[in-house]
């Protein structure tokens, strides 16, 4: 019992942060699945979502500012796709990747300009930032809400992909981009939808993440973004369940490592894990088999 009491807080922190990584990781994995593009700007879109909430709550009540955050983030995600990726659709894949890195730095520097380099305190959102007691651990409500909400959202997303017309379009485009275009699927709409879903989930993830870690700086998106990307690769990039499971594994392992007292190595571990997985199973846990596209 004592063992559980001591380690429960680490496990809870791991599940919670894992759920937040999962919401970001879905954005990476879906975009990759369809466009074969690693959207490096995704972590920064996550950061911008947090800043929008910070600034919106100074003038508006929460029930307006959070929906506004979701809308602004989605619009930003779509705009990035239109402006920086769409014109490069037929360009070499490397050019789009560089464009993504460019967008990432652009967003970071814009945030630096807007915030003046000072850390912004994320507003406390009622209910999810309330303190609760689970067994021996005291934590925030968000720790419990995150995994539940993540699972609900993933379930809804799977339904959308497997049982709707646009979902079918996504699966087709992921399978064969050119052929689906020839079959009359409006690929541009499918791609926009992908970015819409990815950005929406990143915005929801940012609300959960920053409720737990209430300080936003321009580089706040970099580390969660990178970890989520690792989670997506770990689970097999292109696979949504893979990304979610990968994110939970990374979140939990990272916190257990810290709990064991090897705090210095917690990040090193995450990336070492990535290398090992890629050596043993190059396509990740749930990755599609041999692909001739990459």
């Amino acid at each position: 019992m004592d063992f559980i009491n001591k380690n429960l807080p680490y496990l809870l922190a791991g599940i919670s942060v894992g759920g937040q990584y999962a919401l970001i990781a879905i954005g990476y994995t879906m975009v990759y699945g369809i466009l074969r593009l690693i959207n490096f700007a995704h972590g920064d879109i996550f950061m911008v979502a947090a800043l929008v909430t910070v600034y919106a709550t100074t003038t508006m009540p929460l029930y307006v500012s959070i929906p506004l955050t979701l809308i602004v983030t989605v619009v930003l995600g779509l705009a990035v796709e239109r402006v920086a990726y769409k014109p490069l659709r037929n360009a070499p894949r490397m050019s789009v990747m560089i464009s993504a890195i460019g967008v990432s730095y652009l967003l970071q520097n814009l945030a630096l300009y807007v915030t003046g380099g000072l850390a912004q305190t994320y507003p406390a959102i009622p209910f999810i930032s309330d303190t609760i007691q689970i067994g021996s651990a005291t934590t925030k409500m968000v720790t419990v809400v995150t995994p539940i909400l993540t699972i609900i959202l993933v379930f809804a997303l799977m339904q959308l992909i497997n049982h709707t017309k646009i979902g079918m379009g996504m699966r087709a485009a992921a399978n064969d981009f050119e052929t689906s275009r020839l079959m009359g699927i409006k690929v541009d709409n499918v791609i926009s939808m992908t970015f819409l879903i990815g950005s929406l989930l990143a915005a929801i993830g940012s609300v959960l993440y920053f409720t737990n870690y209430a300080s936003v700086v321009p580089t706040s998106g970099a580390m969660p973004g990178l970890k989520a990307f690792v989670a997506a690769v770990f689970g097999g990039i292109g696979s949504i369940p893979g990304a979610v499971i990968g994110a939970f594994i990374i979140g939990i392992c990272e916190n257990i490592i810290k709990g064991l007292g090897w705090t210095t190595f917690s990040d090193a571990f995450t990336f070492a894990l990535l290398i090992v997985i890629l050596i043993v199973k190059p396509t990740g846990l749930f990755g599609e088999g041999a692909t001739d596209k990459v």
Binding site: Y10, G116, G117, A137, T219, T264
Partner: protein, 386 residues
């Protein structure tokens, strides 16, 4: 015709440039502070102190001539990689002396650049011993980490009867690691036990660290970190219902910490250079000056709390003016020579430099507690080293 116009324009500009220099005598003081990155908030407050001092005393008499003081401000981005570039930029602008920086990391990284350019630097709140060790151009007006660490260890043992301390420092950060080390040394010398952990750059999840501290039964948590990490540590500690006191060094003396702790059930103690109320005239003057300008207000974190680093910035400026007067010239080498014997009585106390490394001679630090209801600092004790 177009070429002629361009030529005329160039000529006018050169002429205007030359004019502005010869119109009056200007002495340039470099301000080498972070305005972004981890220490952005603290750096801006320190710069505010310097700017306020400049508005109080915009001119200085050097060798019988009245010089206008011009501040040359650069941002070192709180980073050891960017600091040398920012330093080279300052050296290139022909400054006579440089003030800064907040954060010992950037100070050490830029030290060589200043040495090569032959520009003396007056450290304001960089407390790591290595900043001034073994060089003759870096001075400082604040106390040092071995002193601060010992003060904090004594305070933990005296005030709370602490036997076990949890020390949390940032991996690879000279300030954080250094202060943690000196605290550990002093605390263990007092018979206490220390558990230490490090967190990596960019870490936002402090849940596990705080859990470890609680599990190990620490009596105090000592976290000498930047204010950015501090916000998160305080928030995590509060949400996990931590009841033991949090101790920290001079960086935590900022309204960023007060705002983070507002309304939360946490005990926070810091050591610092100056306690608001120590000098009424200075407090009132700077509050009025900060409130008069929106940018200043934003740079001070949105209210008019006087941070200790602001008071230190103010004193650093006047100490620099003293050095310029003593040198009787704006030549950096002469200023460097004059600094050794410069003394000044500032709002934070007497300032004089010892003759080996150019460190300020200081023997007291103030201990303050964050009042989570009034969102202000309460004075606790003036602590020296026994």
């Amino acid at each position: 015709m177009k070429k002629l116009a361009a030529l005329a324009l160039c000529a006018t500009m050169c002429f205007a440039g030359a004019m502005s220099v010869s119109a009056e005598d200007v002495v340039k003081i470099g301000v080498f502070e972070p305005a972004s990155g981890d220490n952005g908030a603290g750096g801006k407050q320190e710069t505010l102190g310097i700017q306020y001092a400049n508005s109080v005393a915009p001119t200085v008499e050097i060798g019988g001539t009245e010089y206008t003081v011009q501040l040359e401000i650069v941002d070192n981005e709180s980073s050891s990689e960017k600091a040398p570039t920012a330093a080279a930029d300052l050296a290139g602008r022909g400054v006579s002396i440089v003030l800064g920086t907040y954060g010992s990391d950037a100070a050490m990284a830029a030290s060589d650049t200043f040495a090569q350019a032959g520009v003396p630097v007056l450290g304001v709140t960089c407390t790591n011993p290595q900043v001034t060790e073994g060089n003759t151009h870096y001075f400082r007006i604040c106390f040092l980490d071995p002193f601060q660490g010992t003060v904090l260890a004594n305070f933990a043992a005296d005030q709370f009867g602490a036997k076990k301390a949890y020390v949390l420092t940032k991996l690879g950060n000279d300030y954080s690691g250094g202060l943690g080390y000196y605290f550990t040394e002093a605390f263990e010398a007092l018979g206490g036990e220390v558990i230490s952990d490090q967190f990596p750059e960019g870490n936002a999840d402090f849940t596990s660290y705080i859990t470890t501290a609680v599990n190990e039964g620490a009596d105090v948590i000592f976290a000498p970190t930047s204010t950015e990490a501090a916000q998160l540590i305080i928030d995590t500690a509060a949400s996990q219902g931590v009841t033991v006191p949090l101790l920290a060094g001079d960086t935590w003396d900022s309204n960023v910490i007060l705002n983070a702790a507002e309304g939360k059930d946490v005990q926070i103690y810091v050591t610092t250079f100056y306690q608001e109320g120590g000098n009424e005239e200075f407090d009132n003057g700077i509050k009025e000056w900060i409130n008069a300008d929106d940018t200043n207000l934003a740079n001070n974190g949105g209210d008019d709390t006087v941070a200790a680093v602001t008071a230190m910035g103010y004193d650093a400026y006047f100490t620099a003016l003293e050095a310029l007067k003593n040198a009787g010239s704006t030549d950096p080498a002469a200023v460097n020579e004059a600094l050794w014997d410069t003394t000044y009585t500032g709002v934070t106390g007497e300032i004089a430099f010892e003759s080996e490394n150019g460190d300020a001679i200081r023997d007291t630090a103030y201990v303050k507690q964050a009042n989570t209801e009034t969102v202000a600092w309460d004075f606790v004790a003036e602590q020296g080293v026994n």
